[in-house]
């Protein structure tokens, strides 16, 4: 946060000194240092973004020349049933995954809070899903969800007396199965952030609360939760943004199937662009996603600045 505040609140006298320095030869130096980063960001981030926005207004035809079609791609994509379904799945997956990962992360943090060495080792082990590449996690869960009774999850369910479920092959359960995997991947990440929040809770408040004879639940509700609320808010919104552009998990685990039941925004755009060669439609879909992401990000920043002022 200091980055933005120092840059905008330069005192007037310092601004004059700054103007003087720009005239000096040294003014070129920072730009030399910035050049590689700016160049790479320009060519591989901003040019593609501009190109994506530009192409979304065209019927892209290789070798024939592109044809301006205005908002046709947008109306076509947004009225397409499969795309609407994909948006719905994205929202379900994103919201379910974010909320689930927060709740599980919070429970994990409460469980594993403490300074003991054994707790640190357990934390290290529980954190493994976060550092593992998404594609590897996807392969792992494909095998854990193995549809017969000797699959890992199904054999665990068998112990509880529940029959084997073909999680990924059934359109009714595939999206939920994907959500569970997403929670598994993200919960330990949230755990670390919530643990950092928990560590900052004033211990004397706990003691005072105990003196007043409050229950454990009340202590959590009125002391712990308010103290870590800023951390929770940020985690939730960042998770929502990540949820919007979910791709790898779904692509590796189900490929959007069965029967399109796990098709999300990005897998749909990918199919449109790379297998159906509808570059214009895929670009329009990406631009809509980009707009929503930017909107969410701006709200996060607003949210965060308000939090900082407190």
């Amino acid at each position: 946060m200091t980055a933005t505040t120092t840059a905008t609140t330069v005192a007037p006298d310092r601004r004059r000194a700054l103007a003087g320095r720009i005239l000096a030869k040294k003014a070129v130096l920072p730009w030399l240092f910035l050049a590689p980063g700016l160049l790479l960001a320009l060519v591989f981030k901003f040019v593609p973004m501009g190109k994506g926005i530009w192409l979304s207004f065209f019927d892209v035809r290789p070798f024939l020349g592109d044809q301006w079609v205005g908002l046709d791609n947008y109306t076509r994509v947004l009225t397409d049933h499969r795309f609407q379904d994909a948006v719905g799945h994205t929202l379900l997956l994103g919201i379910g995954q974010s909320l689930g990962a927060i709740v599980v992360g919070f429970i994990l943090a409460l469980l594993l809070e403490g300074q003991a060495r054994s707790l640190k080792i357990i934390r290290t082990a529980v954190f493994l899903p976060v550092v593992t590449a998404t594609a590897v996690v996807g392969e792992l869960w494909r095998l854990m969800y193995y549809p017969t009774s000797d699959g890992l999850v199904n054999s665990a369910l068998g112990v509880l007396g529940l029959g084997p479920t073909p999680f990924l092959d059934n359109p009714d359960t595939a999206l939920w199965a994907t959500t569970v995997m997403g929670i598994w991947m993200a919960a330990p990440y949230n755990m670390v952030i919530i643990l950092a929040g928990l560590a900052g809770v004033d211990r004397t408040l706990y003691e005072a609360a105990a003196m007043d004879g409050v229950s454990l639940w009340q202590r959590l509700r009125y002391v712990t939760l308010p103290a870590i609320r800023p951390a929770l808010g940020i985690v939730l919104t960042l998770a929502a943004i990540r949820g919007l552009r979910v791709f790898t998990e779904v692509y590796v685990l189900t490929g959007g199937g069965p029967a399109g039941s796990t098709e999300v925004w990005m897998t749909r755009a990918y199919t449109l662009g790379f297998t159906r060669n509808d570059i214009g439609g895929a670009s329009a879909a990406s631009v809509v996603l980009l707009a929503v992401t930017l909107l969410l990000t701006v709200s996060v920043n607003h949210f965060r600045q308000r939090g900082d002022k407190r």
Partner: protein, 317 residues
């Protein structure tokens, strides 16, 4: 950002909440007090103690045990591999040999080149940019910072289709990067997160050190290399480990930057193994183990940096 030297979990607490922790002033304790944790866990044998051990075992079973099944499945001779267990049936390295015959080590080499080269480029680019942003004043500074922050909001997923066109024909120079490692490495060069992290850290370096060096006639590059960088080691550790894990996790970018499957990274190549009808899931798991090991090694060696970085990243950017 002076956190990394402290305890990873404790360190960023001051950024999360305004109330300072009262614990730092206390002398070292041998027996934790009742109010050390939100739930008031007790270390003495008893009901709460037993409950905690049970719950910890469940957490380990859910989050860590599946990794044992990967390893045991990869070492099993069981042909279908559908029955995963925590111990291999008959230990064998056959799965790894078959995976090797399917070119897994070539994919692994691709991954290593991309992760190594990509990380070096990313660190170099981000250190240079952060140095300019932290130690210099110039017109348009806030705008440049915003641009780097924007790169974080433009993930490969969202710009995948136009990025694939750009990789096939880079503007102005017109080179085709597809099928080369550069197609994956270059787009990862400017990473807003590292730029922000390093900028924040470099800002905390006292002006006096820099001024003293300037009096000795130290130039800009030597200043960066010999004075600023050694002082930034903790932040470099965070940027390095997070950067490595981020690059190793890439999926869509290696997919669209490849000309044919031989250009894939090991994580993307797992799907080739899976769709190969001649190999069982034991071979896929062998591939998964191979894809898992580098990120695991980096994590175990540098987990302190990683955890600090995540906690700082969540509260800062």
């Amino acid at each position: 950002m002076s956190a990394p030297a402290l305890d990873p979990v404790r360190a960023p607490s001051d950024q999360v909440t305004a109330t300072p922790s009262k614990r730092s002033g206390r002398p070292a304790r041998t027996t934790p007090a009742r109010f050390d944790t939100a739930l008031g866990w007790n270390d003495r044998p008893g009901v709460s103690w037993a409950l905690r051990i049970l719950l910890c075992a469940i957490a380990l079973g859910i989050f860590a045990a599946p990794f044992l099944t990967i390893v045991s499945g990869a070492l099993s001779t069981h042909p279908s591999g559908s029955s995963l267990s925590f111990l291999p049936h008959d230990s064998t390295l056959l799965n790894f040999r078959v995976a090797g015959e399917r070119g897994i080590w070539d994919y692994f080499t691709n991954s290593l080149v991309i992760a190594g080269g990509g990380l070096l480029l990313q660190l170099a680019v981000c250190v240079l940019a952060a140095y300019a942003l932290a130690r210099h004043r110039f017109r348009g500074q806030a705008l440049i910072m915003t641009l780097f922050m924007l790169t974080m909001m433009l993930p490969e997923e969202v710009i995948a289709i136009p990025l694939s066109l750009v990789l096939g024909h880079v503007p102005v120079v017109g080179i085709d990067l597809k099928g080369t490692v550069w197609g994956v490495i270059l787009p990862l060069g400017a990473w807003g997160f590292s730029v922000m992290l390093l900028t924040e850290f470099m800002k905390d370096i006292p002006k006096e050190i820099e001024e003293a060096a300037r009096l000795d006639g130290v130039g800009e590059l030597r200043m960066l290399w010999q004075i600023v960088l050694p002082l930034c080691k903790p932040a470099l550790g965070v940027a390095g480990v997070l950067g490595f894990i981020m690059i190793w996790d890439q999926y869509l970018l290696p997919l669209i930057a490849a000309k044919d499957p031989t250009d894939y990274t090991v994580t993307v190549a797992l799907s080739i193994l899976r769709t190969d009808p001649e190999v069982g899931s034991g071979v896929v798991l062998a591939g998964a183990v191979i894809a898992l090991v580098p990120s695991l090694v980096v994590y175990l060696l540098l987990q302190r940096s990683l955890v600090t970085g995540i906690a700082a990243g969540a509260t800062k950017g």
